[in-house]
């Protein structure tokens, strides 16, 4: 019999929405005087029960807002549950963000120590692994430079290098792999694979289904704060993709958010077409709002396959366009190259994010748009033999 690493009984977490998060005296006073009627309870997690054995690697999947991050935050003891009981056996390290506590004024060397200690290592542990960390990050030349002078790629590499050398018994990871270049992501996945193989208990939240399938033996599927399904990774992922399958070409924000910048409306369409087809070019129109003037803001759009893997991503500066930073509402139109899509499931990911004072801030991430183009004349099917791949690209050929 394996030992239990995490045992969760009747776990619930309630948030009160419609109330300001930070109060002032006036709010406290007025809530005594008047019964506030605008508040509403929202159960981010609702009566969860599960057990995780030592050495298991569990993927937690579900749509945005299903309660994945809240679950990780409670397991990491960042927030307290509203009710229920959790028993954890073993030293826990959680990695909900890379580079927590990095200070831009400090050098790479100092930040390795700081970040390592923040993640739960003893100073002596960091010291003994220091060379390995530096090696993994590949920034040894800049060790004594303040990290504010680092490129964002170097920054992420250093931050992840520290995290990758954690050796807890239980490792909790939120979607942190969405940063860094492809090569580095591969390196990180490899490192995480090592962690699961060395008998560590791993909890992993991701939208990247192929990574989940590769790393985790078992998955939990969350929906609206409840555990909808648990089973082998392939089965759970199939279940999830199934109910996530429905096409959605258009999305409008219904709930309010507290972010400084967020999307309000997204629509994917083709000129003169009722549906999305494989021929012609796809237009993505979206509106977003900036709540207060910002110093910098990054806007990315990515096309994903049905496993959540990024096929490519694009940003306005690629075509030399200045992004607005001032408070206001903006509408943007992105046009994909002609004849790119094939008849398979795609989704779009739009991100408003920033990299301030050494931390990644995700203002808003939207993955609501999903579509499967109707076969019209794609290279895949309308050519003899067909072409393989997840996008079709007409290349110039020359044979002499």
């Amino acid at each position: 019999m394996s030992e239990v690493a995490i045992k969760v009984n009747g776990l619930s977490k309630k948030f009160t929405i419609g109330k300001k998060k930070s109060s002032s005296f006036r709010d406290s006073l007025s809530s005594v005087l008047y019964k506030s009627k605008s508040t509403q309870d929202f159960w981010a997690l609702n009566n969860l029960n599960f057990e995780i054995l030592k050495g298991e690697s569990i993927g937690i999947i579900g749509k945005n807002g299903a309660g994945k991050s809240t679950l990780l935050k409670i397991l990491s003891r960042i927030t307290k549950p509203s009710s229920g009981r959790i028993e954890i056996n073993g030293r826990v390290s959680s990695l909900l963000e890379v580079g927590t506590g990095f200070h831009p004024e400090l050098t790479g060397r100092e930040n390795i120590y700081l970040n390592g200690t923040i993640l739960g290592m003893k100073r002596s542990e960091v010291k003994s692994k220091f060379d390995e960390i530096v090696d993994f990050s590949g920034v040894e030349k800049f060790l004594d430079t303040p990290v504010k002078r680092y490129s964002s790629g170097m920054y992420v590499r250093l931050a992840f290098a520290v995290a990758a050398h954690l050796e807890p018994e239980i490792l909790i990871i939120d979607e942190v792999l969405s940063v860094g270049d492809a090569e580095f992501q591969k390196k990180c996945l490899g490192k995480m694979d090592d962690a699961t193989k060395s008998g560590r208990t791993v909890l992993f939240v991701s939208h990247n289904m192929s990574a989940v399938e590769k790393l985790c033996s078992k998955c939990f599927l969350l929906k609206q704060g409840q555990l909808k399904y648990s089973g082998s990774s392939s089965q759970t992922i199939a279940k999830y993709l199934n109910f996530a399958e429905s096409n959605q070409h258009q999305w409008t924000r219904e709930s309010t958010v507290k972010s400084k910048a967020y999307f309000t409306y997204i629509k994917a369409y083709q000129e003169n077409q009722l549906d999305i087809t494989t021929s012609g070019s796809l237009n993505i129109e979206f509106t977003y709002e900036i709540k207060e003037d910002l110093n910098s803001l990054k806007l990315h759009l990515a096309l994903l396959d049905n496993y959540g893997q990024i096929i490519f991503s694009s940003a306005p500066e690629d075509t030399g366009i200045e992004k607005p930073l001032k408070k206001g509402k903006y509408t943007s139109l992105v046009t994909l190259p002609k004849d790119l899509l094939i008849p398979m499931k795609y989704s779009l990911k739009l991100i408003l994010w920033d990299h301030i004072a050494g931390s990644f801030i995700h203002h808003d991430i939207n993955e609501e748009i999903k579509f499967k183009p109707i076969e019209t004349q794609s290279l895949i099917n309308n050519t003899s033999g067909g072409r393989s791949g997840i996008v079709a690209v007409k290349c110039k050929w020359k044979i002499e």
Binding site: I78, T79, G90, V92, T100, E105
Partner: protein, 277 residues
């Protein structure tokens, strides 16, 4: 079996202080203090020199205003010595006050992403103030040498006053950091408090100047400010003279009570910190 067993439950009632946990996190505490210290003078031209310039300038102004203009009588004691003995504890207190209030808000990124006893944040800020405290003590020694002043035998009590000053500073730091999270109003209260305290505490003038002209009940109120008794005691232990006003003990008592209450209040706020910060 692993000895690291953690139980997570919803919280009700009086929180546990879990002071043992603070010891476990001492590495993080020291590194955070180091970070704050390093960042303090980063990219300044004069760097660490600022730590000397500031108290020196303040001392100069105090001497001009209180000794030359207002003609405060400090007897045989050279006024600069009198003032620096008052300033030493106060500067530290004021530093902790102004830095720890916002400390939790400043660390919100960390609080939302990682678990650790949050108490180490205001405490790490307080440690940075030790630098200034140490420099002020250095000033006292230099001024003593300059005036060829031999400290009174009361100096054996100095460590007690130093410890009490640290305790009082921590007390206010802990309270303010917890309160600021709950009520952002305190962000505006702190600068005012520091400014007000500078006059409401016998730093540039002897406490008798005030208490002699006040009825007993008003003296009691005056010494409800913990720093009033501590600054008086601090000075008394160096330059001697009449023993501090008996109301100074009120300052001591207030400090200790507030400290214990502050720890519990902070723990209570800590439970919801990540949700409301």
């Amino acid at each position: 079996m692993s000895e690291n067993k953690i139980i997570i439950k919803s919280s009700k009632g009086i929180p546990k202080l879990e002071l043992k946990e603070l010891v476990q996190y001492k590495d993080l505490f020291l590194l955070l203090a180091y970070r704050d210290y390093r960042v303090r003078y980063a990219q300044t031209f004069l760097g660490f020199l600022w730590a000397f310039i500031q108290p020196f300038a303040t001392l100069l102004i105090f001497t001009l205003v209180f000794s030359k203009a207002a003609k405060v009588d400090t007897g045989e004691i050279p006024y600069p010595l009198f003032a620096i003995c008052g300033m030493a504890g106060w500067t530290f207190f004021a530093f902790v006050l102004s830095n720890s209030g916002n400390s939790i808000i400043g660390a919100q990124q960390m609080i939302q992403k990682i678990y650790f006893p949050k108490l180490i944040i205001p405490m790490a800020k307080a440690i940075v103030g030790f630098v200034d405290f140490g420099i002020a003590l250095l000033f006292i020694i230099c001024i003593c040498i300059y005036y060829q002043f031999i400290p009174s035998s009361n100096i054996i009590f100095l460590p007690i006053f130093i410890l009490m000053t640290i305790l009082a500073s921590l007390t206010f730091g802990i309270w303010l950091s917890a309160l600021t999270i709950r009520f952002r109003d305190f962000q505006h209260v702190v600068p005012f408090l520091v400014q007000f305290g500078l006059y409401a505490t016998p730093i540039g003038y002897p406490a008798e100047l005030i208490t002699n002209s006040l009825p007993n009940w008003a003296s009691l109120i005056y010494f409800l400010n913990p720093m009033a008794g501590l600054v008086e005691g601090f000075r008394w232990s160096i330059i001697g003279g009449a023993s501090p006003n008996e109301f100074a003990y009120v300052s001591f008592l207030v400090t200790i009570i507030l400290f214990v209450l502050g720890l519990f209040y902070f723990k209570k706020v800590e439970e919801v910190m990540a949700d409301i910060v």
